[in-house]
Every structure is written in C-alpha cells, then in structure tokens.
C-alpha cells in the first residue's frame, strides 16, 4: 500500500523503516557521508520547516510535507544508486584483470563472471523499470535497486582484499624487474646492431678497429 504523503506518521515511519537502513548501508560501505544524500536531507529540512510554520495555510503546509516525503524517497533511492556505482567501480578493477579474477576471488572465475553478469542485468532492469515508471512508483524502484545492491554485495564478499593487495605488490615488483631487464637488453642489442650495421656499410671498419687496437699493423 502506498504511503500517505501528507501524513507525518507515514513520513516518520518511512524515515525509520526505509531511509535509515539505506543510509546505514551506503555510509558503512563508503565510511563517509554521500554529498548527494546530504543535499536531499537539506531539501527535506527546508520543506519540513515550511510544514511546521503555523503562519502558513493548511494546504501549503501539506504540500510541503508531501515534497519533503518525495525528497526522502529520492534520497533513499540515491543511497542504493551510490552504492551500486561504488560497487561497480570496485568490481570493474577485478573484472578487467584476468589474473585478479582468477587468484583474488574466493569462488570460481566462471561463477564470479556469471554473478557479475547478473549484477549488470539486474541494474539494467532496475533502470528500465525506473524510466518506465517515472514519478509513479518510487517505492518499487527502490526495491529493484536494493536487490541489485544485494547481488553486488554477494560479489564483493567473494573478493579477497588481502590477496588483491599482495597481488598488486608482487605485480609492481615484477614489473620493475622486467623493465630493468628489458632496458639493459635494449642497450646491448642497440650496441650490437650498430656494430653489425657498420660492418655491412663499411667492410674496412673491422680492419680499422683492429689497427686502432694494435692487434694488427
């Protein structure tokens, strides 16, 4: 049953039952407060103050409460969207690196990729639902995004962060070693190449070298 947007008790119930869990999820994942949500909260308090202003007529006050309620719903949706964006950013790094996908995840690669595809499919259907129901059914849209985030959380919990850290350090070390080796090989190859080229270009070059080194007169 949709809430009564002009009821204070429905507003408070939605805040406690739906918004606070969404806010706690996003804040605990980021360990920071998302600016977008804080802006919505600012809008909510602005409309709530208008509602509390007894100098205003009843219709205006109710309209402001309704607006505050809509901002609250929008803030709840933003919490899950922000979570999705952050989870997607974290997962993309792993998905793009085949070694990381194989060795830093506590599940098989095929299973991980299947779950990741499901994660993308779910957000696609959530976005489609949102776009086809603009301004009509925000509560169901919130539920859709929440299910997407649940799927993302399942994926993120399979990722071994300690292994990722170790993998990155080892990769950095190997990259340094390989780069140094490649530079040295490059220098030696360039010297040998220059000598060979001179020999081809001027056959007397070798003779001149020997004369210079006093090997022959």
């Amino acid at each position: 049953m949709p809430p009564d947007y002009t009821s204070v008790s429905d507003f408070v119930q939605y805040y406690r039952d739906t918004f606070v869990p969404a806010y706690s999820d996003v804040t605990s994942y980021l360990l920071a407060k998302p600016e977008e949500v804080l802006q919505s909260m600012e809008n909510i308090s602005s409309h709530t103050i208008q509602y509390l202003d007894t100098a205003k007529d009843e219709a205006t006050r109710r309209e402001n409460l309704k607006k505050a309620f809509h901002h609250l719903e929008r803030a709840t949706l933003d919490c899950y969207k922000i979570l999705w964006v952050r989870m997607q950013t974290d997962l993309t790094e792993i998905i793009k690196d085949s070694e990381m996908r194989k060795f830093c995840v506590n599940t098989t690669e095929a299973e991980f990729l299947a779950h990741y595809n499901e994660f993308l499919n779910r957000v696609r259907s959530a976005r489609t639902y949102e776009l086809t129901n603009v301004g009509t059914d925000l509560a169901t849209t919130v539920e859709h995004y929440k299910r997407v985030v649940e799927c993302g959380n399942h994926l993120c919990s399979a990722v071994d962060k300690i292994k990722i850290q170790d993998y990155k350090e080892i990769k950095k070390k190997w990259l340094k070693k390989i780069t140094t080796r490649d530079v040295l090989v490059g220098i030696v190859a360039a010297i040998i190449g220059a000598i060979i080229w001179e020999l081809i270009r001027d056959p007397s070059y070798l003779h001149n070298c020997f004369v210079y080194l006093h090997v022959i007169q």
């Binding site: 360990l31 920071a32 998302p34 600016e35 804080l38 969207k81 957000v123 985030v149 649940e150």
Partner: protein
C-alpha cells in the same frame, strides 16, 4: 522495518536500534575511530588521463548519468 544489505551483517547490529542518521554516523565514527567526511560520488572519481597528480572533478554530474554510462546507454 526493512533489513540492511550489508550494515547489520558487517557490524553485527540490529538496524532497528538506530532511530536516525545521527545514530548511524555516531556508531560508524565510534567503530572506525575517525570522523566521517563527506564524499561526492561523481566528483571524487579521480581523473586518470593526462594529470600527474590526481585531480578531483568538480563539475556536478548526476548518478543516473554514471549508471547509464556504465551500462553503455
């Protein structure tokens, strides 16, 4: 009361004990041992192209745009 996706499991708490966002902030600050800052989801994406030092983007993008771009819409 709706359940959380990760908060309750991660901290082994019951979200119904938290009556407001202030309660959540206070709890997380206590557990993490640091004051919670504010992040801009779109703005704190670090530019990786052409900058020697990480530069924060300041233009305001909306979250929907980021989602659509990620999905290739």
């Amino acid at each position: 009361m709706q359940r959380t996706v990760l908060f309750e499991r991660h901290y082994n708490v019951d979200v119904s004990q938290f009556k407001s966002t202030d309660d959540v902030d206070r709890f997380l600050e206590e557990r993490s041992g640091k004051k919670l800052g504010v992040v801009r989801t779109s703005g704190n994406v670090i530019e990786k192209v052409g900058n020697v030092l990480p530069v924060k983007r300041f233009e305001v993008e909306n979250i929907d745009k980021i989602i659509d771009e990620a999905l290739g819409y």
